[in-house]
């Protein structure tokens, strides 16, 4: 990968306390994997919200939540949010959103989670909007790859992730992508993992609560740890 030295590392430890997440290189793409209802999407949003508080831009590619509710969500996560630091690519194919609901956020609607060109154009416009709003760094979340995989095959999703990672690399962004580990066969999961620099595994802990581990970003896989 191209090195983007002028930029500083991303520190995700205030969201997840792992040493392996203290210096995430710009351009890194991370897969967040876990069973249904294990808080993957929440974790992805928290990583973006943390960035917004630090002055990073945020781009959300959503296949489930509408643009309006994503903006609302971030307004509540980051009370002094400046909407212009947020881009949303709404892939539900449900057309326009209430203008008031999205404020100054950079919102783009795409016809379906399988419309890769449309998603690409949306991301491009969001990155441009954030750049013009003065953001040099940022974080992108794609929620979720599992929905994309119901619209298009694993080969196409793999390539999409690879191409998007390169784009994020040249923008100096980091990306987090969620996948429901229970919704796909082992081979599909192994293929998709290969498109990423690292992975955060999330699961329900035996005694209640949740735990996570980090693989591939720095050194050996970490142990499971409560989150």
């Amino acid at each position: 990968m191209k090195t983007t030295e002028r930029q500083t590392m991303y520190d995700l430890t205030s969201v997840l306390e792992f040493d392996a997440l203290s210096e995430v290189r710009p351009g890194s793409s991370i897969l967040i994997s876990g069973p249904a209802m294990s808080g993957k999407d929440r974790l992805a949003y928290d990583i973006l919200a943390d960035g917004l508080r630090e002055g990073d831009g945020a781009v959300v590619v959503t296949t489930g939540d509408g643009a309006g509710s994503v903006v609302e969500e971030f307004r509540s996560l980051v009370p002094d949010l400046d909407d212009s630091q947020l881009g949303v690519i709404d892939c539900r194919g449900e057309g326009g959103t209430d203008e008031d609901a999205i404020g100054n956020a950079h919102v783009h609607h795409v016809s379906s989670p399988g419309d890769l060109t449309g998603i690409g154009i949306g991301i491009t416009k969001a990155l441009e909007g954030l750049h013009n709003a003065g953001n040099e760094q940022g974080r992108l979340a794609l929620v979720s790859l599992s929905t994309m995989l119901t619209y298009t095959d694993k080969k196409t999703v793999f390539k999409f992730c690879h191409v998007l990672s390169s784009r994020l690399d040249s923008a100096g962004y980091i990306g987090v992508f969620t996948i429901d580990s229970g919704a796909h066969d082992d081979q599909t999961l192994q293929v998709i993992k290969q498109a990423f620099d690292g992975m955060i595994d999330v699961r329900d802990a035996e005694g209640g609560g949740r735990e996570a581990r980090v693989l591939g970003l720095a050194g050996e896989p970490t142990d499971w740890q409560d989150i």
Partner: protein
């Protein structure tokens, strides 16, 4: 590739002077074919053609129509639209891989053609990379970690996956700008339709 082994560029341009100029600039490095209008362009087009330079405004078939027929024929060639006005991203949505705004300088033309060839290389590397990753994943999904540790085939695959990953990073020149990014994604959807 054709007889000469040079990449083939097809110029579809109704103004002879302009077409000749492009040819002059390109003929050292590429095999150049010329067509004066859309119909002629479609006749000259075959699997050997790597890049098409397509004037948007021509008498007869328009550039947009020619593009549509090129895509229908499922040829792997890249198409750059030559236009008098600076277009928006929308042009990429229509299926062009790149655009050039007139007047075009020699340097710019070379850059665009080279870039489109790079992108073709990136696509085929990505395809090859995927095939390796899929094989590797199949082994991982069907064998125990003890079996994998013993397997020379798995060891070799893992090495090749790492090498390909580096090769792909080196070829990333093709995805630096927005039009490359979007056109590459569009290519993925096209592949899937085939």
């Amino acid at each position: 590739m054709s007889d000469s082994d040079l990449p083939v560029v097809l110029i579809v341009e109704d103004e002879p002077d302009v077409a000749e100029t492009y040819k002059l600039w390109l003929q050292q490095e590429y095999e150049v074919r010329m067509a004066q209008n859309g119909d002629e362009g479609l006749e000259q087009l075959d699997a050997d053609v790597d890049v098409v330079l397509l004037d948007r405004m021509m008498p007869g078939l328009s550039g947009d129509e020619v593009l549509e027929r090129i895509r229908e024929r499922n040829l792997g060639c890249r198409v750059a639209m030559v236009t008098a006005v600076e277009p928006d991203f929308d042009i990429l949505e229509m299926g062009f891989d790149a655009y050039l705004s007139k007047p075009i300088r020699s340097e710019q033309l070379h850059e665009t053609v080279d870039n489109l060839l790079d992108r073709s290389e990136y696509d085929s590397l990505l395809q090859e990379y995927y095939a390796l990753v899929e094989k590797q994943a199949t082994l991982e999904a069907t064998k125990s970690s003890a079996e994998l540790a013993e397997s020379d085939q798995y060891d070799e695959l893992t090495q090749r996956v790492t090498e390909m990953r580096d090769d792909l990073s080196d070829t990333l020149g093709g995805i630096e700008d927005d039009s490359d990014f979007i056109a590459t994604l569009r290519g993925l959807s096209d592949d899937e339709d085939n």
